[in-house]
Structure formats: C-alpha cells, structure tokens
Chain length 249, copies 6
Amino acid sequence: MKLAELTWPEVESVSREVVVVIPTGSLEQHGLHLPLFTDTLIVTAVAESVERQLGEQVVLTPTLWLGASGHHLDFPGSLSSDFDSYVGAISSVVESLIPHGFVRFYVLNGHGGNQDPNGIAIRTLKQKFPMLTLGHSGYYAFCEEAVAKILTGPLKTMAHACEAETSLMLHLQPGLVHLDRAKDDGLKSEPPLKGVIHTFREMTEHGAFGFPSYATAEKGEVIFKAAVSGVVQELRAIAEGYALLGPAL
Amino acid sequence: MKLAELTWPEVESVSREVVVVIPTGSLEQHGLHLPLFTDTLIVTAVAESVERQLGEQVVLTPTLWLGASGHHLDFPGSLSSDFDSYVGAISSVVESLIPHGFVRFYVLNGHGGNQDPNGIAIRTLKQKFPMLTLGHSGYYAFCEEAVAKILTGPLKTMAHACEAETSLMLHLQPGLVHLDRAKDDGLKSEPPLKGVIHTFREMTEHGAFGFPSYATAEKGEVIFKAAVSGVVQELRAIAEGYALLGPAL
Amino acid sequence: MKLAELTWPEVESVSREVVVVIPTGSLEQHGLHLPLFTDTLIVTAVAESVERQLGEQVVLTPTLWLGASGHHLDFPGSLSSDFDSYVGAISSVVESLIPHGFVRFYVLNGHGGNQDPNGIAIRTLKQKFPMLTLGHSGYYAFCEEAVAKILTGPLKTMAHACEAETSLMLHLQPGLVHLDRAKDDGLKSEPPLKGVIHTFREMTEHGAFGFPSYATAEKGEVIFKAAVSGVVQELRAIAEGYALLGPAL
Amino acid sequence: MKLAELTWPEVESVSREVVVVIPTGSLEQHGLHLPLFTDTLIVTAVAESVERQLGEQVVLTPTLWLGASGHHLDFPGSLSSDFDSYVGAISSVVESLIPHGFVRFYVLNGHGGNQDPNGIAIRTLKQKFPMLTLGHSGYYAFCEEAVAKILTGPLKTMAHACEAETSLMLHLQPGLVHLDRAKDDGLKSEPPLKGVIHTFREMTEHGAFGFPSYATAEKGEVIFKAAVSGVVQELRAIAEGYALLGPAL
Amino acid sequence: MKLAELTWPEVESVSREVVVVIPTGSLEQHGLHLPLFTDTLIVTAVAESVERQLGEQVVLTPTLWLGASGHHLDFPGSLSSDFDSYVGAISSVVESLIPHGFVRFYVLNGHGGNQDPNGIAIRTLKQKFPMLTLGHSGYYAFCEEAVAKILTGPLKTMAHACEAETSLMLHLQPGLVHLDRAKDDGLKSEPPLKGVIHTFREMTEHGAFGFPSYATAEKGEVIFKAAVSGVVQELRAIAEGYALLGPAL
Amino acid sequence: MKLAELTWPEVESVSREVVVVIPTGSLEQHGLHLPLFTDTLIVTAVAESVERQLGEQVVLTPTLWLGASGHHLDFPGSLSSDFDSYVGAISSVVESLIPHGFVRFYVLNGHGGNQDPNGIAIRTLKQKFPMLTLGHSGYYAFCEEAVAKILTGPLKTMAHACEAETSLMLHLQPGLVHLDRAKDDGLKSEPPLKGVIHTFREMTEHGAFGFPSYATAEKGEVIFKAAVSGVVQELRAIAEGYALLGPAL
C-alpha cells in the first residue's frame, strides 16, 4: 500500500503487522551524465516494485529525497541536509505512526552517504522504543552478488554514477541519461588508505566513480530485479515474523 | 527547469538570476474523501505548471513533502515533522546552493501548518544572508479572489479538505478522490474566539473543514489556473527585478 | 491577578480555571521618534488594563520583552532573540505551571515579528499537552476595525511606528514620544509582491512604516480601548468556557 | 542611559566605551511572605540606581526576569527557564549589539540560581569574541561585608527570602511584603555536606532560608546602598579602563 | 569499586546504596612546567585513593577528561569541550545507570572551568529526577584549609599551575614536572574587579597563576591527603545517609 | 608523542605535519567474562603501541572512553553517550587544535557502536574544514585477515566479547579476564535478515557474541600485532603524504 494515496480511515483499517517502508534518497551530482535525482529515482523504483509485490504487507511512504550529501556540495546543484534535520525527518515519520500502533519500520536507502545517519536514526529509535522492530539497509546491499556477476567493467561493485548505477538508470529512466557525456572516473590513494574521508571534488575528476561507459539497460534490469527480490525477501520475513536462534555464526 | 533532472554541469551553466522555487507540502489526513498526499499533490502541480511557464527563469526543486502537521496527528497516517527538522530542511536546501552563487529563493507552500515554520526558516536565512532575495507564500494566497468567486457552498475561503481543495483534487487527481464519502464538516467556537489553537480532532468531526460536497473539477480548474497565474506573476517579478519605492500604502 | 506580586501560597489558592496571560513584546528600533521599548510598553499596558477588568479570571505574567526582531537589527539598539530561545522562554513559562494544575494559557503579543515563533511555541505545546487550552494573538488583531475607522492618514492598518502605534504611545507614554522627529516612511515593491521578506533597512528610510505625523493621543485612546475590550472578550470566553459547534463558516 | 527609552538614532550616538548592563532576575517562590518577583525587583532597583549614578557610562537594558529556578518549581507560581533558552537570551542581547560596535557587557545578577548559566553565557561569548570585555556578578557579591555587619539574626550572609532579602524588600517595596506571615526557615544536612544539591522543597519547610523575622527597612537601605556603591565602582572601573598587572595575589 | 574493571553481572550484584563517583578533569595548558593532563591526573589520583578507602560504598567511573577549557585555548595543546557536549557526557553517564536502580551520584571535579557546567548538569538531572541524591564539588574545596596552612609562597589558595597544583604533581607524578622551567606568573586588575572574565592569555604571561617556584612534593602530599580525607568524609555521609534538620545556619 | 604528557610550549614546537590520533572506546557490558572497559583497554593499547612506533609522526590524545552503546544499556554498568554529545566530543578535540595549525586528524575506534557517529563527526568536520585530512577506522579493520586466520572457533570475524576480543584481553590484561565464566553466545535471525537492528538483550543470552571459549593469549598477541602494524602503515602514509591517482578500482 502507498501511504500517500490512502485516506485516514483506510490507514485506520490497515493491519498493524505491516512493515512501514521509508525510502531515503538524495539530490546530488552524479557525474557528467546522470541527473541529480539518480539515487532517489532508483530507490523509489525499487520501493514501488517491492510494494507491488508485497501488497498489504507493507505501507510505503514517499521517499525522503533530501539526503546527507555534504561530500558532493562542491558540485553545483547538489543539496545536502544537515545531519540533525536528516535524522529528525526519519524520526518524525516513525514517531507519527507509533501512537497508532504501527510497530515495524524499515528505512530503505538509496544513497551511501545516508548510511551513517540512518544508523543514528534507527538506533536512537530502538533505544527509545525497544519493543519495535526497526531496520535499515541500502537496496544495493541486496544485489551485491548480481552486481559482481553482471558488470563487465573493471570495477565489480556499486560506486557512484558508475557502471551499475548508470545501468539502473538506463533501465529505469533512459531519457535522463546522457551516456555520451559519461567519463570513467575516480581516484584512489597511493599508498592505499582505509579510513581517510575525501570529498568527491578530491577523489574524482568529474564527480563519478567507476566505469559508466560499460553501462547497459540490460545490466540495469538484472541488478534491479535482484535488488527488488532481496528487499522483498527481507521485508516479507519481517512482516511474517522471524525467530532469533543460536548459535550465531 | 527542474533541478532533479539536471546534471551538475547543466546547473553550473544556469543563470544566477533564476529564482529557486522550493515547494512545501504535507502528508496528513484530509477527511474521509481525500488522500493523505493532497497538499503535496496540489502544490507540486502548481509548481510544475509554473515551471513550464517560466522556463529558464526558475529552478524548481522537488517538493519537501514532510510538513508540520502536529494538529492532524490524532488521525492515523498523518506524518508530521518536528519544527526544527522542518526548518532545517529548507535551510539546508538554500545553504547548499548559496556557495554556487544562487541568490533568489522562494518557498511555495501548499499546507497552512507550514506557514509559521516557513516564516522562521526564511527570516533566519534573511538575517544570516541579508543580500539574498527570499520569499515564501502559500499558493492559496494567490487565488483567494478566484476561490471566493467560484465556490458555491457556504464557505468562501480555502480551508482543509474543503470545497476548494476537493475541487482542485477533482481537477488534478480525480482517481484519488472519494467524493461519495465526503462529509461537510468543521466546528466553530461559540462565543467566537480569535486566537485559540485547536487540533483537528477537536475542531472537526471527520478531519475536514468546509463543504466538499459542493466540489467539482471545473471549479478546481478555475482555482488552479488562478493560483498558477498569481505565482507566475510573483516569481517573474522577482526574476526580472523589482524596485522598492515610497510611499508605502 | 499579577503573578509577579503574589506569594506562592496565594498562587496555590488560585482557581485553576484562570487563563494565564503571557504578554510578548520587543525592544527594537521604532523609527526616529519612538523609543525602542514601544511594543513592550503598549502590550504591557493592554495586558494590565485587561487584568484590572478580569480580576480573578486571569493570572498575568510579566512581559517577555526580548522579541524576535532580526529584521530590525541593522538599526543600533535593537535586540533580537534567536528563535529557539524565544520559543523556549514561552514553553518554560507554560511548563513551569502545568504541574500545578493550570490548563489555560494565552500569549498576548505586541510585536508582529513574534507571530511566527508564538505559533511554533503554542502549537508545540498543544501537541505535547493536547488537553490544554492554548491560544495566541496580537492585541492589534482585536482593534483592526477601530484602527481602520479612526486613522486619518493614508494607511488604515497598523504597521510599525505608524500613525496607530504613535497614537497609542501618545496616549500611554507621551513623554517618550518625539513627534517632532517623526517622518512618514516605508517603501513598497513595484511591481507588488506577496511573499518577499525584507529587512527594515531595505523597506524603510528611517525605520518606520506609515504616517506617524497624523498621530494623536485621542486616536491612541480609542485604539487602546478597542484592543482592551477585544482581549477582555476573548479571555473571558476562555475563562468561562466555550463550545465547539458545527457547522463552521 | 536606559536602552528601553532611547530611539535608535540616540543609540547610534552613544559612546562605544559604555558598559552595557544586563540585569538578570527570577520569578520564583520566596517563602510565605515575599512576592514571586523579589529577585527581579531588587536587582532592577540596584541597576536603576547604578544607572542614575553612572549616567552616560552605562547603557542599561531591561531585566531578563525569567531565571533559572528549577529548584523552586515544587512551589506553585515559580517559573523557570530551561538553561539553553536562558543562556540564549543573554547571548542574543549581546550579539545584537556587537555589530554596532559595543564592546563592554556586564550581566548584573539578582538570583543565585542564575550564576552557573550566567557563567556559561559569558564564557561562551568570551571564547567567541575574545576582544570584548565581559563580566558577570551577583549584586550581592558587592555587599557581603555590609550584610555581615548589619544583620542581627543568627545567619550573617544572604540566603533566600532571608533577613537580608526581606530587609531589601521592606526598603524598596514594602507594600509587597507580608512580614506577619514570615517564618524563619531552612534545613541543613547532618553530618554536614559540601556538594549535594537539594531542591527548596527538600531544604526548607516553607520555601525560605534564614531569619526574615529580623528584617527591617533600615537594614535594607544599608544593604542596598552598599550594593549600589560596589556595582558603581566595578562598572566605573570597566568604563574608564583598567590595567592587568603582576604579580597577582 | 572501579566500574571499568567489573563485569555486568558483578555490577548487577552491587548494592544500590553505593555512591557513583564521576571524576571530571581537563587537558589544558598548565604553564611552562606542568603537563596538559595535570587536572585529570590529580583528580583521578584523589578519586582512586578515595575508592581504595571506601571500597564497596562507591562505584568509581573513569575520569571524564575532556573539560570545559575555552579560556585556555590560546595555548596550543589545550582541548576544550563545548558546554553542551560536556554536560551531555555527565548526563549520559548518570542516565545510563538510573534504570538499573542507582540513586546516588557525585561528580568529583578537578578543574575550575568545569564548575559552571557541572552545576548545570547536576541541577538539570535533579530537576528531572528529584528523588536522586546528586552532588558535585571540586576536590580542592576539601583541602582549602590545608592549602592555606602549608603553602609558603605569597598566594595561599589554589590557583592554576600554582604552588599547590605543582606540589600535588611533584607528589603524584614527579616525572612529568619540569620545575626548572616554572615561572611565578599571573596578573590582577588594577583597580580590582570582581566579575570580569579573562582568558589565560590575558591574565597570565605564560599560562600559570601563582608561585610554583615554592612547590615541593612534601606539600603536595599534605594537600593530597587532606583532599582525599575530605572527599571520603563527604561520600561516606552520602553512602550511609544523612538527615536534613533545622534550623540552618 | 602523548599529548597528555606534553607542556604547551612542547606542543607549540611540534611539527604540524603530525597526525593527531584520537582513540574512541566504550564502557559497556562484555558478557560474563570480560570487564566493561574492554574496548577502551584494547584500543588504548593499540594506540599506545602505534605511538611508540611512529614517535614524532603522531600526537596521541587520551581515549574518549564514553562510547555510543545504547544497544547494551539493558545490561547494568553499561554507559552510553547520547549521539550529539559523543559527536560533540570529537569535534571539540579537533576544533581546539585547528587554530594552532594542526591539519591531520584520525579517529581510531575500538567499538563498533561508535562507527556511525564517528562517520558523522568526521564528515561534518570535513564539510566545515575541507582542507583538512580527516579519517576514522576501527583498529579491527586492520586485522581482519589475521583474525580470520588465527581463530579456531566457528566464527572467523571479530564480534563482541568473542574469541578475538577475549584473546586480545588475555594478551593485554589477563588479570581482568574471567575465562572460566565465559559462555559461547549469540543468536541469529531465522530466516536471515540484513538490516534489522537488535539490542544485545535480544540477540544474545548473556551479552557476548561468538566463541570466547576458544580464546588464548597467543591468538591475542597475533591479532594485536596485526592491528598495530596496519594502523602504523595507515598513519605513516598520512603523515608522510599520499597521492590521489586514477583510475580507481
């Protein structure tokens, strides 16, 4: 169910066993060839496809599209929320629904920069409302295998405006992709470093990271389906209940 | 221009004389007959129509749909941002663009509950960046005359899920309107009071305020065109420059 | 009753049906001819006159004189609270009294710039304590008719350091008015704009707005009495109880 | 000079060598016999007397009367600001004036509970604006000797609603003192403790601390004059300049 | 007991009558001759000595070493917490333990600059949890008499990097003291002032205040023992219970 | 160099090419057999060993031991900072040193729960001070290979109070390890879930996660050396400078 389209009496009659799904995106530079809304468009498409499959097991909110994108602000057009307001938006959504008996919430993320504050938001809510079931994950965590397998460029993981993201956009929104402008891009530290944080101005030449020149709509479709399928499985398990058992490995 | 669809090099080449337009909506109960996203759908439609008319004179951001709706939270499905996060979202959008030379910003509002915090946001920005041109207004402030003239029910102003809003939705999103469920609704204090703040649970029976039973798509079209026309005039004046002259009346 | 003058056992014995009245003012430039404390002096005089008439139906706190006056800060001597501290002061007053059983609170405002944050304060409290009766209004909202009727200058509404405010000060504090220095002042945008926010440095020549040269103490007395009478009526209705009835118009 | 009574052009012409004096008070229970506004009334009287003596060397703001009085909230009528808003009010006053060239600020305090947050406020401002001259002190720090000498009851220091405060009120506002209701009051820990914080509900029987039954207006006058004289000396030294010399003892 | 060394089942079995002791220190310049960690080293040594004497009557947390040291930041190496985070750390420690039934907390301070925010922290907690026993004091408040008696230099109280602190460090950590570099230091205002706040850059020549050249390890031992003994007495009284009795003097 | 032991003139003479290293730990339950301070003890030991090897290339601050441990608070003795204060502490350390010319900062983490807020802290600083070199990583990220190779229990990664952490403690602090009390512990969701956040009360039986019964001091030594060696390599690369080169893979 799409929350936006319901009336309040319709919400009132929804089962409280549903998972409320809150997609988080961004509006930020995606290199020379992808539109600023790339992350939001992809995660919204994944979420809506999931919603179609899960039907009454989920309530899907609109996408919180204003992401945490401070590392992209050097490139004009990028918008970034301060962290407090970003976290506050997620908390506000969840805390608006709690008094009406909803108990399962899942933030479905489409932008790497949102991961830290999604963690803060969900962990803060979990501490305040320990009985809730709360989760968050990038959609991309569910298609790592598919990505590794389908990509033909040198980089086999999802980066930023890369072969995988560009493929997804060619599948979902081809009219917004300027493949002719794409440049393979992205720098690495030498010697290699694990923990240093760079802005995209520092670590790319044009704002992308990876090999978009290898992108195709077909690859995009494969990745998209894998992501949707993984998210469906995760949310269905939450909606239908799961056990915590030992030993853990 | 729609910011979401641009690449960063396209934004870089945009004239800095444009007005950045930031629509603000809500996701909140709208009585028995309108969907939760009503305010967001209307203001987004107004904004997009304005953008089509003004072309390169405006840059339109996506709608900040999470509104300040605390007075609707008694009705399930309503989502409300805390005020700080709401204000922070607007500030974040504006402050992301200032370093790139944009100097004109306008918050176009679709939900009465956002007016106070829109004022806080814009005034705080004006104090911090006094050289900017900053404005905010509800789209409904531009069609008051049309509303007063076209409505045939007893209430001649725009309220909440009323004849006017329902007409707008019948014009814009008829598939989401359940006119058969609509109930004329809304209470008033006796004796009359000017300043007391009530929740919608207190001041309505079903969440609406006004006379939706009188709504028609035709009225909605008239109101919509008036709103668009008024907003176009306001934004064009800002984009093309205006003078401050005395005496004021 | 004036809270400031009571002892705590006297407060303990007060009826919990009283309306706690919290005046809000400012200390900000009022053109060449009025003192910085103008708003505070007027709203305090209104509040004290109301208190004399309503007696045991109200508890009047001292005036929160530090207003939200960022748009006046270009003129030396103006003081402005940041919005958070301003809102926090109102909340603190109300939340100090709630544990002792007081349930009706009314912010009586004397400065236009306080309206947005008064709304934020009162709405936040209403969301947190839905059973309370909470209201806020400018005293000037109760005398609009009298103002429109009595003023003889070109502007028929209350502005800033204008004919109406100057008349009120001539009635209340003639020793602080320098009528000989007054200049009719105030600019308007051409073409006209609805939503752009200007500082007083931008939209006036000397800090005033309107036609103070027309001011007289007699007009001030008429306006003052109208304001007091309107506020008395509003607060009495709250103190004595009111009904919420339909249909609303 | 009293800031409240000036116009902005008058402030513009004030010497920037003045000390801006910001009194801080409270509205809180003061036992059975003193009004809630006691601290504000006393510190305002001291400040106004100082202003009369120092003339153009000081600019006196109105008293920030909403104090930090959490330890008194058990007694009805007491109002307490949260610490953030309290500190924000002082910062707002100072930061409104800095852009106009004022460089000397002094918070004159009338309520012990304000000391910690006054320290926070002034130290934060000093860190942000190290070139400013910033100070804060209770008026009572300037009359300790006079208090010790003039009091005839068992306690020789200033406490709360005690012999000294009651005497000051008998001198300044006899009409608000109910000496017939006064009870000598106040508990001490046994064994004695240095650092434990108690509320006034815990450490008094009726909200007072000390021996108000010994109070007289004559004692109040002596204490008042000593306080005024000490504050005058402190502020004059700041206004006229002072040296920092070693060695310190 | 040292909290750091316990397992959670061991904490579970601790008596809830214990006093949880939270030492607060700093890392800030201490003149030419003492290390930045001086305050932390001293207060930790006092606290550990107290813990050895009181055994199961106290639970000692590690020292919160990041102090409020804004007035020292001109000297490189000094670290200062913003006040909010400083207060938040203390609150977080206390609020983590309250749900497990601990009811007595004492902040033992080693740095004068922490006093104001320790007051804010403890008073805020007391207002929120009035049934708790909460206290805070500098260790130096317990050895004033010993300091006054043992010091042989011109200054008879504890200042900063002075004879007393240097003596304590010679007793506790002689390897970190560079007595040969010490310079007697510190300025005073002329004429004398009570309330003006200066940075250490303003009020010292090299960052110290007092007469370290007189310091000896023997004096340090005397002061240390006095401090420990006083703190032991205070905490034992809290752990074993005390009465509040009148009249207070 | 250890910052705590330096005097301010010694800090003044330090090369500004050093990396300031800020360890972050926790004080939280570590199962039945490890002390609450486990994370702090390990990361401090790693940091001090690194400092001994890198000498004048690093400035090591004391460990910020109050971690973000909300998910452990069900177990008594665990202390958790709220996220704002946690982030504020790191920012405060960095911002205290920036005015003195230090430009390289690295947060070395010892507790998984700190990762999200360390990201927030470092990214916020990077956005505010883009010219700085800023990084953060868990020490455990540098010894994953060694852990995978040396562990003999069923779980080959580092968890919580597991074989790896227990081994490290047996190597570093054997006197604080109660190996006889250790229980292999930890639950997993069935079906498996990627994104759901559980408290340790939910996902363990006794607070541990993994197979501590397999722990030995020898394994601990191997892991410790690997961690130290990896951190040394990372920090040396930062201290000596590195290049950003394409293409990235």
